[in-house]
């Protein structure tokens, strides 16, 4: 039903072009339309982001003012603290970055950018969202069971996660793990759709090198996910068995090995970083080309380095385990591969920066977010070298240096990348423009405090502050006044950043109601998504488009217009 069939072909049974107005249930709840499913993922992800952000607020308040009765939460006990940091991490990665970047943007953009009327398997797509929603509900219930939510860190290392007598959260850890496993199933189903649709349902004339980079990135990310998640699903089931059926896969007292879990987890966990990074990089590529009116510098180089990064990302996992008790000689191999992966990523960054050369750069809100992604992600990238280098990691492992490092990768990915994409495609999604002035206030109000939260945490990490400690007063060298001042500074910056999100929601709602009408192509962009109505109707186009060129033909010297949409005949 979603092949790139010419419009005169016989209509399939559940006709997209039918005239009957669908009921509320079939339009919003049981829809198979890729755009509606994208919206469902987007709004569920944003709701989960609010929960994850609230958790960060609660534990950062405890760190800055130990023992305080946190407004809106209450006293943060050690058990609360562990559950908060565990679920903040799990939610932000599995229930925010994944659904928004891969599922929402993937669902929205792949059919629109490839020029087809829907995903190849719309019902599998719907099932994917429903399982995802179920996983989110299951996760949220884990906070309210006896013993409280799981507090063994998002990495869930056994034996702590495997035995109730150690974790003291018998139900919480089982429900948490079940939720994670369900979430993986949802994204396996989604990933099948993304790959198949982009490979088989492209518009007539769209060759592989004519596919917009963001689609490529989401497809490669889906492949990475499909290949890496198998071991972890197996691991999750083994851990569920250890918890509930008395098996001993990870119990050393009965012949198991807790390190096995770490290998299964990080074999997935490291490619997972690239699974969420790639869509954000793709979104950035679309935006910087449009707002600098430039062809992407070295399209093929970017694509090939992405594939190289994807392949290499399967060989670096044990850099998370340098000091975990694995054979010390193994560290050399994983240091080598980890440093190697910096090469394609650096090259990709160079291409992005070079794209600005010779451009005509307009600093709109989406462009600000996209540029901020590059500027901030660079910090995350270069600080990762210290941790990938085994010798330095002996000191930095599990300190706030690690924490600051991955927030400089994940915040640009999950938050900056999302805002970039959302502000860029908002006109397409909802048919109206967002307010630029409010958009810029929100941008600066988020990006400046962000740096004030995490730059100081690098310093704390260098000072030896280790992670997941609810109160540092038990460690005389970490209870120094200057360290406490830094904690207060980071928390204050977080409060400012969180409060500026109100501006975004206000802007979002006001623009939905009364924003300026967007028209088909407000940014004068080339890709196919901008050739249909805003918002696109069910079925996307009355007649499916034909493609004549690549997606980034901006500012050709012999043409009057400085853009040349992919579907415009020569």
């Amino acid at each position: 039903m979603a092949e790139s069939i010419p419009s005169e072909a016989p209509a399939p049974a559940d006709d997209h072009h039918g005239h009957e107005e669908p009921s509320f249930w079939s339009k919003y709840v049981f829809s198979t339309d890729h755009k509606m499913i994208a919206m469902q993922y987007l709004f569920t992800g944003m709701a989960m982001a609010l929960i994850g952000g609230f958790m960060a607020y609660a534990f950062r308040m405890q760190l800055a003012f130990p023992g305080i009765d946190v407004p809106g939460f209450g006293i943060v006990t050690p058990a609360n603290y562990n559950a908060l940091v565990t679920n903040h991490g799990a939610i932000m990665i599995f229930w925010v970055a994944m659904p928004v970047l891969i599922a929402a943007f993937g669902n929205y953009l792949i059919p629109l950018m490839c020029g087809c009327d829907d995903m190849v398997f719309p019902k599998i797509n719907r099932l994917s969202y429903q399982i995802f929603l179920l996983s989110a509900v299951v996760l949220l219930t884990s906070f309210f069971v006896e013993g409280g939510g799981f507090g063994g860190a998002w990495t869930a290392y056994p034996p702590l996660s495997a035995k109730a007598q150690y974790s003291l959260t018998p139900l919480g850890s089982t429900i948490w793990l079940a939720a994670v496993a369900l979430e993986f199933v949802a994204f396996l189903l989604g990933g099948i759709n993304f790959i198949t649709t982009a490979m088989n349902s492209r518009a007539k004339g769209m060759k592989l090198y004519d596919i917009p980079i963001v689609v490529w990135m989401i497809v490669i990310a889906s492949i990475l996910f499909l290949v890496s998640v198998g071991p972890l699903i197996a691991g999750a089931i083994m851990l569920l068995f250890d918890q509930n059926l008395g098996t001993a896969f990870f119990d050393p007292a009965r012949g198991g090995d807790p390190i096995l879990w770490q290998h299964l987890f990080w074999f997935f966990g490291h490619p997972e970083v690239y699974v969420v990074l790639l869509p954000a990089l793709g979104i950035t590529a679309e935006i910087i080309t449009v707002f600098s009116r430039k062809k992407l510098f070295g399209y093929r180089t970017v694509l090939h380095t992405t594939i190289a990064t994807g392949v290499l990302s399967f060989t670096v996992w044990a850099h998370h385990q340098f000091i975990a008790g694995v054979d010390p000689r193994m560290a050399h191999v994983f240091t080598l591969t980890t440093l190697l992966i910096s090469v394609p990523i650096a090259e990709m960054m160079f291409c992005y920066i070079a794209t600005l050369y010779g451009g005509s750069i307009r600093l709109t809100t989406p462009m600000l977010w996209a540029l901020a992604f590059i500027a901030e992600f660079l910090i995350g990238g270069v600080t990762g070298i210290f941790l990938g280098a085994s010798g330095a990691d002996v000191y930095f492992h599990d300190t706030y240096f690690v924490l600051a490092h991955f927030h400089y990768t994940f915040f640009p990915i999950a938050i900056i990348g999302t805002f970039a994409g959302l502000t860029f495609w908002f006109p397409k999604m909802f048919g109206r423009m967002m307010n630029e002035r409010l958009g810029k206030i929100h941008f600066w109000g988020s990006i400046i405090p962000f740096n004030f939260i995490f730059i100081p945490l690098f310093v704390l990490g260098m000072g030896g502050q280790h992670r997941r400690i609810f109160d540092y007063s038990y460690f005389p060298e970490l209870a120094l006044p200057w360290m406490q001042d830094i904690r207060v500074l980071a928390t204050s910056a977080l409060l400012i950043m969180l409060s500026f999100q109100v501006v975004f929601f206000y802007n979002f709602i006001m623009s939905l109601r009364s924003g300026e009408k967007a028209g088909k192509n407000p940014w004068k962009s080339n890709t196919l998504d901008w050739t249909t109505e805003s918002p696109p109707p069910h079925g996307n186009w009355k007649e499916l488009p034909t493609v004549y060129r690549g997606p980034y033909e901006y500012s050709l010297p012999d043409r009057e217009k400085d853009y040349w949409p992919q579907n415009e005949p020569n």
């Binding site: 702590l160 340098f322 090469v343 160079f350 002996v394 599990d398 260098m462 280790h466 500012s555």
Partner: protein, 236 residues
Amino acid sequence: MIESLVPAGSSYAWEIDYLFTFMFVLVGFWFLACEGIFFWLIWKFRAKDGQRAQHVTGDEKHLKRWITIPHILVLVCDVFILGGAVKVWYDIKQYLPEPQQIVRVIGQQWTWTFVHPGPDGRLDTADDIYKVNELHLQKGVTYHYKLESVDVLHDFSVPVFRLKQDAIPGRVITGWFEPTLEGEFDIQCAEICGIGHGLMAARVFIESGDKHAAWMASETPLALAANVPLQRAGEE
């Protein structure tokens, strides 16, 4: 750079500090170069009325050099960092010098137990000194640690030594350090180990030979001490 925040208290601490500073300079150069060029381009090529962007594909030879040359330079920097990282890692984790003393370190929810050899200088004898959350070491002595865990994963972390090592139930992990700085410092558990993880704090006491001997004498039961020739502090 690290030593300005945390004193260097072991024979290999300075290696990590130098490695960090070396990497900081290399990485810092690339970071500043990238960000500098990035912001300069944004400024230089800001939209101006009546001026169009250039059509550049990035496949032109004279432009592609701007990617390939930095690419090779990054690779060269990586080789230097790799060399440094492997050297430091080898010295700390792979190489094991002959020990002058052995201590046993046992992690359990949520305390550290340290077993020191008594006056006979050997572990697993009757005069072993068991201390909870207190590790007593003699400056300038090469120690092996035998790291164990009773229940879940813990991590024996001593910031002044620049040392971290996970403790795994069912295994005994051997490593080494040589304290070089007298004083009293933090020992952390750096692997989440349950609700008391934040309370799992211990202290290391690094003492001169005399003071260490005095401590040992004060901890040794009289009945055991009587059988062992022992030089007390201040007896010379």
